[in-house]
């Protein structure tokens, strides 16, 4: 029983870590602002969510009662991260930042180069 719980926790932590890493890589590697915005917001939300779930389960077994801090943190994160991304996207649209041609109107007859 304990072992299977440990495995579950490990998987959750690993998923979390993986997605946080993916988010960071995306932030560095993706070519334009709008694509870069996806990395930290989507991936990091899922990643942090997984780690927080693991933490909640782990500490529920170690303290009296259920550990609910993580729920609140998750709630805060789920409210704030999309709003932040939304505001940044709005600002970028307002400033008319450069967008990649191929993410715009894809026409198969005229392939465009990315950079």
């Amino acid at each position: 029983m304990i072992e299977s719980l440990d495995i579950l926790l490990s998987v959750l932590v690993l998923i979390g870590a993986l997605f946080v890493l993916l988010g960071s890589v995306a932030l560095v590697k993706l070519p334009d602002f709008f694509m870069r915005l996806h990395g930290p917001t989507k991936a990091s939300t899922l990643g942090t969510g997984a780690i927080l779930t693991a933490s909640a389960i782990y500490f529920s077994g170690h303290v009296d009662g259920i550990s609910l801090h993580e729920v609140l943190i998750t709630l805060f994160l789920f409210i704030t991260a999309p709003v932040g991304a939304h505001l940044m996207a709005k600002a970028a649209l307002h400033l008319k930042l450069k967008q990649l041609e191929r993410t715009q109107h894809i026409t198969p007859e005229k392939p465009t180069s990315s950079r």
Partner: protein, 942 residues
């Protein structure tokens, strides 16, 4: 608890409380300020009445409480005959002036401000005359200077009022400083600051080697306050004050404060040749100068001002002569001068009020228009001249008598009665001018208003004062006898001399001098035309303001020159001055230290995670500097620095600090974002390469030094006081979170000071931002207009959703603060952020329509809670801010602990919320104002 045991402090502090009430009373009724202030003065009088009988019997009442025993400061009050005489003058004339001023002030003048300042002054004056402890006396002494400054400059729109007030403050403030020095010396000589000991130690003081400096310093204080030569020049300029103020401050009370001090220190300091020479010379010069110049004043109040200077000189001269009988005459003249001069000032105010002018060249023949007032003025002016059957005559006779006695000392001393008679001749002449020029002498010349009689209640105080003049003049022993006797006994602190308060002493030299003065005065007045012409040719150009301004300018120049050397308005320069000496001290310390630089404490294990984090910290710090021309980028980097620091705190077991740092960081970034709106978005490089190198050397050098110093301290085994706090946290403060227990309990007083500073800073920023006009550009640096969608709907919705959650978190952090990381400060920041988020997300109008609470009130409530917690412990006879705690049981929740420090923490919480929100929202409102079209300055609805 017998209330009479608190009579003296209560009487002295009542006007201060009254001032607070008066300040807010105007909204109820137009006349409320006058009534409230009369009530305050009257109750102060009532409180003192039970104590008076003992004082008349010659007792000295002392009520004292220890305050700061280590420096000799006691909360000690004293009521003896001298204090009583002055107390009665302050309160009775204060009441009359209150009545008078209620009718004098016009509808545009703020009565609340006037009467609260008047009460502040009254309280300070009472404090001066009732203090037993000299340091306490000094505090009240300075308060009289400050409150009189506010009274003189009451008509703030008038330049002469502002100048006069500043001059009075500068001169008397300088005197206050000298007096402080004198009193400190006196306290060192005697070994106590209490008057009882000081007055008993006269012989020790007079034979001490510090006697002369002490005397000179105290006399500078006395002479500046009582307008003695050469410091007399501020008094005529202070006449720009409203006339009730002149009647009160410049006849009866404030200028008498210096005289009071002379009388107070009479037994301790007088009786030496230094005292005789300095005090009587200054008095004689002032007497002559004042009387002479008064004659040539065309302004009614100017004449009275110089006459006051002259009479103050007379009193000073009497004290200078140093004999007990001279002191009697001085005290008697204090009473008489207060009565006739206050009534004359009030008459001058009536004339000004009813005719619109104070110029004696225009005012003529007022007898026809206001006969009653004229008669009063004539009686009072005759008392000033020393006409028999009036009170001024009696004290002047005593004065002449004393000058005759003094003339026996040497052949030079014969000059004293001669000069005194000369002064009296001019005194008669200007009194005569006051009477003849104003009330007779033809008809008024183009006055602004047609003169008419004053309202009854404006005249009533003059009526009463003139009755006193007459009563004392005719029946001195019956009216003023007992009070004078008590005052004399208290002043001399020994056997009172024999004196008689009779009208008729037989034909003697003083009577002859009186007649010479009367006849001479009439002669001078008859031939005044020539004197006036001579004065216009030679003397009228002499203006004390010229040397005064020259001295002031020179002082300011010196101060500016010194400041300029240290502060050229360049941050690098200022930092070099502060950091350079600190660096020098450190280098000297390093060099002279013979032990090894680092101690031998075992170091912590190598920690790669922390190392990476600190690498990031260093990198982002450096980047902040490198990128400083792009302000937005460098602000973000600054945020990174802050976050890494808070991670560092979390890592090294300082969760409280981590939480605080985190919330402070967010507030700071928001604040800087708001401020950046008004700054250029990038700075151009202005510094030369050489300066960059120089500054880099400075920075690296100082940073290295600080690091070495920290390492040197941290590698040694010290026994810090933190052990004490850790051990006593639960037993003494009832909390396991040591940081919070230190903040709200062990060092609660520090915290109280800090939240007071925070409140003042908040209010200061609020006041600074009120009337500021900045121009922000309407586009960013690439010419793109700002977005028009300032409050996106998604942000609006979710920020509202976050509000309860954030408040919940704040409450959580607050409640657990005593035992786990958290507390009022952090909770306050979190709650403030919750509110600020609403402003950011929903706009100022939406939010202020919903959060109606004025943040000023939140701050006030916070300070109230914090101070009240402290005061409750005083009431329960524990030291200030002692806390207590107990354990409560509550169903469901279980056993938990309640500490009184929690209420204090609530105070901290409220102050932090109030100050933070106020600062940020004011800056935000400011942005809103700028965003609206120029010229259309809508006020935020609060």
């Amino acid at each position: 608890m017998n209330l009479l045991n608190y009579a003296l402090p209560v009487a002295a502090l009542l006007p201060f409380f009254g001032a607070a009430v008066v300040a807010s009373s105007a909204r109820f009724h137009r006349a409320a300020p006058a009534w409230c202030s009369a009530l305050a003065a009257f109750s102060a009088l009532l409180v003192l009445i039970p104590a008076m009988s003992g004082v008349f019997a010659g007792e000295t009442l002392i009520q004292s409480w220890s305050w700061v025993p280590s420096v000799g400061l006691e909360f000690a009050f004293r009521l003896d005959g001298l204090s009583l005489l002055f107390t009665l003058m302050i309160l009775v004339i204060g009441l009359l002036v209150t009545l008078y001023a209620g009718y004098y002030l016009s509808a545009e003048d703020s009565k609340a401000r006037f009467f609260s300042c008047l009460l502040l002054f009254m309280g300070s004056m009472l404090g001066v005359v009732l203090s037993e402890n000299l340091l306490l006396l000094l505090v009240f002494w300075e308060l009289t200077a400050l409150s009189s400054f506010m009274l003189i400059s009451f008509w703030q729109h008038r330049e002469d009022a502002r100048h006069g007030a500043r001059m009075a403050l500068a001169v008397t403030g300088m005197g206050g400083l000298a007096l402080l020095g004198g009193v400190l010396l006196l306290g060192q000589i005697v070994g106590s600051y209490n008057l009882t000991e000081v007055l008993a130690a006269g012989d020790i003081i007079r034979s001490h080697e510090w006697y002369l400096p002490t005397l000179v310093l105290i006399l500078v204080g006395v002479f500046t306050k009582s307008a003695q030569f050469p410091f007399h020049f501020w008094l005529p300029h202070a006449m720009a004050a409203p006339t009730p103020v002149s009647a009160y401050l410049h006849s009866a009370t404030m200028v008498k404060a210096g005289i009071f001090l002379l009388a107070r220190f009479f037994p301790a300091l007088s009786g030496t040749s230094e005292w005789l020479w300095i005090v009587s010379t200054a008095g004689m010069l002032t007497l002559l100068l004042g009387a002479f110049v008064a004659l040539f004043q065309h302004d009614l109040k100017g004449l009275l001002a110089y006459s006051t200077i002259s009479h103050l000189g007379l009193i000073t001269l009497l004290f200078g002569l140093g004999t007990p009988l001279a002191a009697v005459a001085a005290l008697f003249h204090i009473i008489n001068h207060a009565t006739f001069k206050a009534s004359l000032f009030m008459v001058a105010g009536i004339i000004d009020h009813e005719t619109g002018s104070r110029d004696m060249r225009k005012l003529n023949g007022l007898m026809k228009y206001m006969p009653h007032t004229s008669v009063l003025a004539i009686i009072a002016a005759s008392a000033m001249a020393g006409v028999p059957l009036l009170n001024g005559f009696l004290s002047k006779e005593m004065f002449f008598d004393q000058t005759v006695v003094a003339s026996g000392a040497s052949s030079w001393a014969l000059a004293i009665p001669v000069l005194a008679t000369l002064g009296a001749i001019f005194s008669v002449a200007y009194s005569l001018r006051f009477i003849h020029d104003v009330f007779f002498n033809g008809d008024p010349i183009d006055l602004p208003r047609v003169p008419h009689a004053p309202p009854l209640y404006m005249r009533l105080p003059v009526d009463l004062l003139v009755i006193v003049c007459l009563g004392v003049g005719m029946l001195p022993a019956l009216t003023v006898g007992p009070l004078l006797a008590a005052a004399v006994k208290a002043t001399i602190q020994g056997q009172a001399p024999d004196y008689s308060l009779a009208i008729w002493h037989g034909l003697n030299v003083p009577l002859l001098m009186s007649f010479v003065a009367l006849l001479g005065g009439i002669t001078v007045y008859v031939f005044r035309a020539r004197l006036f012409a001579w004065n216009d040719r030679h003397l009228v150009r002499i203006d004390a303001r010229v040397p005064y301004n020259a001295v002031l300018r020179a002082l300011i120049q010196v101060a500016t020159a010194i400041t300029r050397r240290f502060d050229r308005g360049s941050l690098q320069h200022t930092l070099a001055w502060t950091m350079g000496p600190a660096g020098l001290v450190a280098v000297a310390g390093f060099v002279s230290m013979d032990s090894p630089l680092f101690g031998n404490r075992t170091l912590m294990d190598f920690d790669p995670v922390a190392l990476i984090a600190f690498g990031g910290l260093m990198l982002s710090s450096v980047l902040t500097v490198v990128m400083h021309r792009k302000r937005m980028v460098s602000l973000i980097l600054l945020g990174v620095v802050g976050l890494l620091v808070s991670l560092g705190f979390a890592k090294f077991s300082a969760p409280d600090l981590a939480l605080t740092q985190l919330s402070v960081e967010i507030v700071t970034v928001v604040l800087l974002m708001l401020a950046l709106f008004f700054l250029p978005q990038h700075t151009s490089g202005v510094s030369s390469r050489w300066r960059h190198i120089r500054d880099a050397i400075w920075a690296v050098g100082l940073g290295t030094g600080a690091t070495l110093l920290t390492l040197a301290v941290l590698t040694r085994d010290l026994s810090p006081i933190s052990d004490y706090f850790v051990e006593n946290s639960v037993s003494g403060g009832g909390g396991t979170n040591v940081v919070n227990v230190i903040l709200v309990d062990f060092r609660g007083f520090d915290t109280l000071g800090e939240i007071v500073v925070l409140s003042i800073a908040g209010l200061g920023i609020f006041a600074l931002l009120r009337n500021i006009h900045l121009h922000a550009s309407l586009t960013d640096m690439e010419g793109r207009a700002w977005s028009t969608d300032s409050h996106p709907v998604i942000l609006q919705t979710l920020s509202r959703l976050l509000f309860p959650l954030m408040l919940l978190f704040a409450a959580f952090v607050f409640l657990r603060g005593h035992n786990l990381p958290g507390g009022g400060f952090i909770a306050g920041l979190v709650a403030a952020l919750a509110i600020v988020l609403q402003y950011l997300g929903n706009g100022i109008q939406w939010t202020s329509a919903r959060i109606r609470t004025d943040m000023h009130r939140v701050i006030a409530a916070g300070l109230f809670f914090a101070i009240a917690t402290g005061l409750v412990s005083i009431v329960l006879k524990f030291p200030f801010l002692t806390s207590t705690f107990t354990y409560l049981k509550w169903p469901v929740v279980g056993k938990f602990e309640v500490a009184s420090a929690m209420i204090f923490d609530l105070g901290v919480f409220l102050v932090v919320v109030g100050a933070t929100v106020m600062i940020l929202v004011e800056l935000g409102k400011f942005n809103l104002l700028q965003a609206t079209k120029p010229g259309k300055h809508t006020k935020g609805d609060d």
